[in-house]
Amino acid sequence: MAYDSASLDKPLETLKAFDWGGDVAAFEPIDAAVIAVHADPAARADLEKRLSALLTAGTSRAAKEYVCRKLSVIGTAASVPTLAALLPDTENSHMARFALERINAAEAGAALRQALGTVQGDLKIGMISSLAGRGDTACIPMLAALLAGDSRTAVAAADALGRIHTPEAVQALTAAGGTSDQAVAAAIVDARLACAESLLKQGKRSEATAIYKSLADAAAAGTTPAAKSTRLAAARGILACLDTTSPS
């Protein structure tokens, strides 16, 4: 089906005041347009611009959610400013991330990092979650700093570093040192194990072994939480590193 921008005038106007329970059949032309613009950059840009323009104060929460779902499929750097403006907004932050996390543009990552530096509490954890989902390496220094922050944020930061698992992430986790917070310490152990697994998959056996041995030593010294499971996980890892027939 060819894209027809004019045919969206009424559905988009109706969408502004949409609330849950409303007639979603009215939006079927928008749904179809999201599919239709796949191979038509000009049409896609037009649709994106029109959807993005709805992310304003005069649009209902349900409508913003609908728009963010669509932008999660067709959004580009062009939508980032309007989506980023929603990141500090408790009601809409998640749906803004729903789109931004999927937009493969440097601007989307930059917006999430910008928000990571300003929002607090659960919203900050949300930014960490999306940056981890994107495998964003530029946020590693920020995550490293958060390892020393409040417990819930530090746990999320450690989880994210484990997901990103680049050499810089390994370094940040190693440099974090000890902590008396058991939840944070456990998350750091898990993240380091994830990093070691990634290194092993890349064939970097010596680097992986170093992490496993470090964790095994810490577990033996009783300086990690859940020492038994850490010791076993590290032992399994060391054996895998020794097994030259294992996938690498």
Binding site: I35, S72, V73, H94, D122, I125, S129
Partner: protein, 436 residues
């Protein structure tokens, strides 16, 4: 992943359990050894008998998501003499109370602890294993958290909601050496009519399979209702987008045509992955594809005159094609074997050497298989890796339907090739504070 200290003050368990069972038993043992004067009574239940292992040898279990299918899973484990069931968790008070009631009724006491927040259940150090039967949007987070806390997991199907979750769940299971079994009790038991001819080599090399089952899930825009006091709505939603409460949004009935969480995209893959987990699971087991993932999903558009609906298929690297809802007139006229009207398998007809059909370990179906593996540390019949492989096909089909185009899948990279939009649908942002 989301393994944080609970955001809210930890709620006290509603049961009366305060210490750990093992700690309690250890205390009894120490007292007996010391021949103290106090009259400790060790019951025959604790010591075991010819048919019941002593308490110290039983697998200590709890359940998360204890309504509908969760209650069925609970009853299966609760009925086993080698399981000691000690805790339930559900965000709904009714399910929680009912679940606790079943346990307490079984044991004739009031000891079963009941939790609203799964993190509190997983924080117990006396649990060996948990079963999880929440809506699908919780599966990955809870399974990974359970592995990290040292628990084995029996996880209801469909094990994954997104393609990206699977490798992370497998990694967590392997990292901590946990037994993680998928939960499709039908795969081996309901599909014998197709499994045995295939494994016996009677129909030759498998060429194609036709599966008839419902389609993918849809967005949910049900109207807001007052949130009843007996559900923790924020925790029910968890990592899913915030939406207003509606009983139809969260109903656990097995329908997928609306007014059930299985119908909606934030919580489920729809019938395609719900009942599809059984039909695809049975098919993939019968055709011995469990170790493989498809390399392509093909979208077959509806006919121009609208008489023929769109359908889709996935292709495996060994040449097997599995079709979803292919019109009857396009199917092989005489399939080699069939499971009613839902699965039709066509082979090349050249008989092959028979292979022994894998079976459950232990006794008691897939539940017994899981418990046996908890004891022996073997991999279960529906090991999480096999379950993830199984669900990859339905997820790929769902994305192909959504984008209305064909997709190529790079198994090693776990990405679609040459389709950035499709790769956007590998996963979704989770609502704060949840992280995978």
């Amino acid at each position: 992943m989301g393994h944080h200290t609970p955001a809210r003050p930890a709620s006290a368990p509603e049961g009366q359990t305060t210490g750990t069972r093992r700690g309690f038993l250890k205390g009894i043992g120490a007292a007996a050894a010391g021949a103290v004067a106090a009259p400790y009574v060790i019951t025959s239940t604790a010591l075991g008998n010819a048919s019941t292992p002593p308490a110290s040898d039983r697998i200590v279990m709890g359940g998360i998501g204890i309504g509908n299918m969760g209650s069925g899973d609970q009853n299966a484990f609760l009925g086993r003499s080698d399981v000691q069931y000690v805790a339930v968790c559900d965000v709904r008070k009714k399910w929680r109370d009912d679940g606790k009631g079943r346990v307490d009724g079984k044991y004739g006491n009031g000891d079963c602890a009941a939790y609203v927040d799964f993190r509190e259940l997983l924080a117990r150090d006396d649990l060996d294993a948990v079963h999880i039967a929440t809506p699908d949007h919780w599966h990955a987070i809870m399974t990974i958290a359970a592995c990290r806390s040292g628990k084995d997991v029996y996880l209801q199907k469909p094990e994954t909601l997104t393609l990206r979750e699977g490798p992370l769940m497998i990694a967590a299971a392997r990292r901590y050496g946990r037994v993680v079994s998928g939960g499709s009790q039908r795969v081996l038991e309901d599909y014998r009519d197709i499994v045995h001819p295939c494994w016996a080599g009677e129909i030759g090399a498998i060429k194609s399979v036709d599966i008839s089952v419902g389609g993918p899930s849809q967005p949910c825009y049900l109207p807001a209702q007052d949130t009843p006091p007996d559900i923790d709505w924020d925790l029910w939603l968890g990592p899913a987008p915030w939406e207003p409460y509606n009983s139809g949004r969260c109903d656990g009935n097995f329908g997928t045509g609306g007014n059930s969480w299985r119908s909606y995209i934030d919580y489920s893959g729809g019938s395609l992955t719900d009942w599809g987990a059984h039909h695809f699971g049975g098919t993939i087991f019968a055709t011995d594809l469990r170790e493989l993932q498809p390399v392509k999903a093909t979208y077959h558009p509806a006919s121009a005159d609208g008489k023929q609906a769109a359908y889709a298929s996935v292709s495996y690297p060994n040449g097997v094609d599995i079709y979803h809802n292919r019109p009857n007139e396009l199917r092989p006229a005489t399939p080699s074997v069939a499971h009613g009207g839902s699965i039709q398998i066509t082979g090349d007809g050249r008989a092959r050497e028979a292979k022994p059909v894998p079976v459950y370990k232990g006794t008691g179906g897939i539940y017994g298989d899981f418990i046996e593996c908890v004891k022996t540390r073997e991999r279960p019949f529906r090991d999480i890796e096999l379950a993830v492989n199984t669900m990859t096909g339905p997820h790929m089909i769902g994305i192909a339907y959504r984008l209305q185009r064909s997709l190529n899948w790079d198994v090693a990279a776990q990405q679609f090739t040459g389709d950035a939009e499709a790769n956007r649908l590998l996963d979704r942002a989770r609502r704060e504070p949840w992280i995978l």
